[in-house]
């Protein structure tokens, strides 16, 4: 027999002014199972809570209904009070008679009547409440960072700083990402490599950090605190433990006409290569698409010259499995492919380059040793046109609908650097808007205009035509002068939009995290939880979540690290007990629930059942992982046999509420 206590709150006059609380307490006192029904001035106050606690002890209550304000306000207060009096906190129900009754109604009689009905519904529900215990799930004290750019490096360093082991998985042979390719950084104009490479070295030397370069995540299983990740270490045909990075093999390799992707294809590398001088790990990698030994079996020069015998042509892809408590996604971005924008003649003319290509052309470690030369004839350009928003801010069919955010600033940087180094060069920037929100950003842009005399023209380039004399005709509008311009440029630089890395979408599927239509990872809350994904235990760092410049990326990387550390310091995590559970005897293993679960919390297991005729049958039944289930209840409705139910909001509880209201 249930022993239920009802406690009606006056909330000063907030409730008592429009609801006759005494009458509510009186009426609910007659409900079946209710053995005590009281009202009090302020139920949430210390003495009000004591009233509840004492009643629980005195009457040995099995359920509590508090008629008060919204459960969103004080449900936890009363649950805690019940728990301290020895009652399971999930045996407390709140009837919302303030926000949803006294505050919206004026007529005392009808408001009182409604309050009684709401109270009755809560009593009917609490009759069916079951004591719930929040489960605990252990946390593996190791984090995985996917992506080894500046975001991934910063996140890994911060997590390692806190004393946890971190693995970085990077698909390229070296960590460093896009920042390693950048020449200078805005708005301070300090060299990117000078600030990045020490961090790369720090990451490689940190005892808590393991770098899996030339590797990919191939499978993710598990849930917050307990992910099992399979990492594919691609065969690099060089023994990482033996290679010293001396570079002799790269010099002797006869296959030395491979486009160098680090320098955006402006120069060549050999088939066995180290991407750049400061690569981490500094280990050679053999490119199987070009290596003669791997393709035809004839060569083997590198293995002959290697003094430590690190070359291993028989190496194969290796799968390693590792458990992690938290995963940070830092897959970064790429400039978009410009094939679609043939009006800019990017594919026709070598002197039309993207901004990232310009970074390499101007970099001291780049193909021209830091002298800006036209890629076509290696002459010094005297007129350079920058085009903004190429592929950004477009209608969906024409490109990316978002602003790529970084282009305005890096274009100002490029323009300024060129004018600084080559004052005889005319620089034109065609812009739609100059967007410079950021510390010292607008000052920087103004400096480009005022001090360096860069010609900023409000308008857009309509057509770029390479001419036979080597010049490039740039046809553009100048909206403020209301005229159409023709500029005979030597070089055109396109600020290509940036997009998330192509590997991000399959990764999101593996991680069961959400992405927006542009393939950027979606944060759990756009304002208040910007570095967490909606999937527990998965955090977002850097440009995989949206376009970002370096300071923002680093800030987000550290924030993601802080969130991951907050998870890793726990020995176990408390799970929400209001989760789905399946009645195995009713489940027919149809998979309907598995398909609707947004968290992948439902799996199928083969279980032995003793049949009435004493035989044992193996049946496929649904099993909910309570650590992963968030308790939405989608599966309960999908289940055709009614086996799936939700703790705290069970079918019978909701029906009891419906019945109580409709009586």
């Amino acid at each position: 027999m249930q022993r239920i206590g009802v406690f009606v709150c006056h909330c000063g006059t907030n409730i008592a002014a429009t609801v006759d609380v005494k009458a509510v307490a009186e009426a609910l006192g007659h409900e079946p199972g209710v053995i005590v029904s009281q009202d009090y001035q302020y139920m949430c106050s210390e003495s009000g809570q004591n009233l509840v606690k004492n009643a629980i002890k005195e009457h040995n209550l099995t359920g509590v209904v508090v008629c008060s304000c919204s459960p969103r306000m004080h449900e936890n207060t009363f649950r805690k009070a019940a728990a301290s009096a020895g009652l399971n906190p999930y045996l407390v129900e709140i009837a919302n008679i303030r926000e949803q009754c006294s505050w919206i109604h004026k007529d005392i009689a009808s408001a009182t009547e409604k309050a009684i009905i709401l109270g009755k519904a809560a009593v009917a529900k609490v009759h069916l409440n079951a004591p719930l215990t929040a489960g605990e799930s252990p946390v593996v004290k190791r984090a995985l960072v996917i992506g080894g750019g500046i975001a991934g490096i910063q996140t890994a360093l911060d997590i390692a700083e806190a004393g946890f082991d971190v693995d970085i998985v990077e698909k390229q042979p070296t960590i460093g990402g896009k920042m390693a390719q950048i020449d200078k950084t805005f708005p301070t104009l300090d060299c990117a490599a000078c600030i990045l490479t020490p961090k790369m070295v720090e990451a490689s030397q940190n005892e808590h950090i393991t770098i899996h370069s030339y590797s990919e995540v191939s499978d993710v299983k598990g849930f917050v605190g307990n992910f099992t990740v399979t990492i594919k270490k691609k065969a690099r045909f060089v023994d990482e433990t033996k290679c010293t990075g001396c570079g002799l093999c790269t010099e002797k390799c006869p296959m030395n006409k491979v486009p160098n992707e680090f320098n955006m294809g402006f120069d060549n590398r050999s088939a066995v290569y180290i991407p750049f001088a400061q690569a981490v790990p500094k280990v050679a990698t053999i490119d199987p698409n070009y290596c003669m030994m791997l393709k035809t079996g004839k060569c083997g020069v590198c293995s002959k010259v290697c003094s430590v015998g690190a070359i291993d042509y028989k190496q194969e892809d290796k799968l390693i499995e590792q458990k992690y408590g938290a995963i940070v996604v830092a897959t970064g971005f790429n400039p978009i492919n410009l094939d679609k924008y043939d009006e800019f003649a990017y594919n026709q003319c070598p002197d039309v380059v993207t901004s990232l290509e310009l970074e390499r052309l101007m970099n001291a470690a780049g193909p021209n040793g830091g002298t800006l030369l036209r890629p076509s004839d290696k002459t010094h350009p005297h007129k350079i046109v920058f085009v903004q928003c190429v592929g950004s801010r477009c209608d969906d069919s024409k490109g990316k609908p978002y602003c790529s955010k970084i282009c305005c600033m890096y274009t100002a940087k490029h323009a300024m650097l060129i004018r600084e180094k080559y004052p005889d060069t005319e620089v034109y920037v065609f812009y739609i808007d100059v967007r410079t929100p950021g510390k010292n950003f607008d000052e920087f842009y103004r400096r480009a205009v005022e001090q360096y005399n860069v010609h900023y023209i409000k308008g857009m380039v309509g057509k770029v035509t390479p001419r036979s004399d080597g010049k490039i005709d740039v046809q553009a509008s100048d909206l403020l002068a209301n005229e159409q311009l023709h500029i005979d440029a030597d070089m055109v630089v396109l600020a290509a939009a940036i997009e998330p890395d192509k590997t991000a979408r399959p990764l999101a599927t593996m991680l069961t995290t959400q992405m927006d239509t542009n393939d950027f990872f979606t944060e759990a809350h756009p304002k208040l939880r910007p570095v967490e994904s909606a999937t527990a235990g998965i955090f977002l760092s850097g440009a995989c979540q949206g376009p970002k410049d370096i300071p923002e990326t680093v800030a987000q990387a550290s924030a993601a690290a802080a969130k991951a550390i907050g998870l890793l310091v726990k020995n176990s995590i408390t799970c929400n007990p209001c989760v789905a559970h399946s009645d195995e005897l009713m489940c027919n293993g149809c998979s309907s629930c598995e398909k609707v679960c947004p968290y992948g919390a439902i799996t199928y297991i083969d279980k032995e059942f003793k049949m009435p005729d004493r035989t044992v049958a193996i049946r496929r039944v649904a099993s909910v992982n309570p650590a992963v289930c968030q308790g939405c209840g989608a599966c309960t409705v999908a289940c055709p046999s009614g086996a799936m139910d939700l703790n705290g909001f069970s079918n019978s509880q909701i029906i009891a509420e419906v019945d109580a209201i409709c009586k």
Partner: protein
């Protein structure tokens, strides 16, 4: 400003002028820019403002080649050429007669004139 006229133009071209982000790529790409008093981006903006009579009275509406370069290159898919065409139609409807007699066309032709322009001329001037 004539509200009905604006609505008529917007309906006949089917263009959402509010999509324009004022980048000016249409005017940057327009081959007959120098011939025109009002340029493609101005057409879009002035239609948005409802300043259509000015456009109708301008020779610009007959200078557009309808080459659709602006339509092809507009990053926002605004389709300025359709706006120009709609204003032209509005003008022709209001005049109630053709801007040009078909008999005049042969003597205006010259070797450099692209075929597209002739086709366009017919589309423009004949009901």
């Amino acid at each position: 400003m004539n509200k009905n006229l604006k609505e008529q133009v917007l309906r006949s071209c089917g263009v959402n002028v509010l999509k324009c982000m004022r980048c000016g790529k249409c005017s940057g790409t327009c081959p007959s820019y120098d011939e025109m008093e009002y340029h493609p981006h101005q057409f879009v903006y002035m239609v948005e403002r409802g300043d259509i009579e000015t456009l109708m009275n301008s020779k610009s509406i007959y200078k557009c080649l309808t080459c659709f370069a602006c339509v092809d290159r507009c990053p926002r898919n605004v389709e300025p050429a359709k706006v120009v065409e709609a204003v032209r139609l509005a003008a022709i409807r209001q005049q109630g007669n053709n801007h040009m007699n078909p008999n005049q066309i042969p003597e205006m032709l010259d070797e450099d004139m692209p075929q597209q322009a002739i086709v366009t001329a017919f589309r423009k001037y004949i009901k």
